[in-house]
Amino acid sequence: MCAPLAVPMLAAQQSAEPAYESAAALAKGTLFPGLDLPFMDYIANGPVEDTPLAELMALDFVCQELALYLDTHPDDKEAFKSWKSFTALAKEGRRRYVEMCGPVKRSDTAMFDSWVWPEDPWPWNNGKAGKK
């Protein structure tokens, strides 16, 4: 049978594998080599930066990419397993980051002795991550 007419169609991604490792995924803007389609020669050259913040960003980014994939592939058990393990890594990474650099979520402030939530750096200031 041929495809019905006047129905918008786009090929679905077949699998969440292969995938870049987390730092490369963040630098490229996608976890998936098949979706890595840069403009001209604007290609990511290497990891973003080597900071605890960038490390956390990379783990959170992989979680986001897998989550969007899972939204349209809810039956992909392998991808779900992978999302679960990255979510655990991100949670642990976040705990270490907060201890070192300050709260990410306002509720993280409960780990501190005083109301440090308003303290710099806020994300739009280009402060070096990692005070205290």
Partner: protein, 201 residues
């Protein structure tokens, strides 16, 4: 409910002020195909979406777009902080400066303020998802055009990241369209709008 995270999705570290660049990058903050349009479009379309997978796609992409709004705002802020009046004049940035100084205001590159007239919420599954796929392409082209004009590697790197996200989101909306139409009448997907008409069992 939304919970704020005190970090960007992607790092922005711009060393040199350049109001000439801020002048056109502001369009991805408050312009027709910018990140405010994107987040408002997806987060608003959710309410009339009948299928769970589509509610999830619109929510998760809409929230990410709010994160992109923050990234673009950060880029404009870092391009305009510490600028001198001489730099303002040399860049032809006076029109913006006179109204907003070094603040970040939601407007298009051509100067008109953000308008929800640039987006649509049609309340129809196929129409809304078609708009979303088109929107991702238009945003992708805007980043292409920004990249053509940018000469600061600190800015290029961020624009390149945001552009790639449009490609990924386009793919997800395309897959969402496939999921939606598979659930609809296979002989005529236009027979009813499942977001409004009661489906016969």
């Amino acid at each position: 409910m939304f919970v704020y995270e005190k970090k960007l999705q992607y790092p922005v570290r711009i060393k040199n002020p350049d109001p000439a660049m801020a002048k056109y990058i502001i369009s991805q903050y408050g312009g027709p195909d910018g990140e405010l349009s994107a987040s408002l479009r997806y987060l608003s379309q959710r309410y009339s979406m009948p299928y769970p997978e589509l509610k999830a796609v619109l929510t998760d992409i809409g929230v990410e777009e709010l994160g992109h709004l923050e990234i673009v705002g950060t880029v404009v802020h870092q391009l305009t902080r510490n600028m001198t009046v001489e730099q303002v004049e040399k860049a032809g940035f006076q029109d913006y400066f006179v109204d907003h100084t070094a603040g970040v205001y939601a407007q298009a590159a051509a100067g008109f303020p953000y308008s929800a007239a640039t987006i649509q919420v049609k309340g129809d599954v196929i129409a809304d998802l078609s708009e979303d796929m088109g929107a991702e392409q238009k945003a992708r082209v805007t980043y292409d055009n920004i990249l053509r004009m940018c000469d600061d590697p600190d800015v290029i790197d961020v624009m390149r990241f945001l552009r790639e996200r449009e490609v990924v989101h386009f793919q997800r909306f395309g897959e969402a369209m496939g999921i939606a139409t598979a659930k609809m009448d296979q002989r005529n997907v236009y027979a009813v709008n499942p977001a409004f008409d009661k489906m016969k069992k």
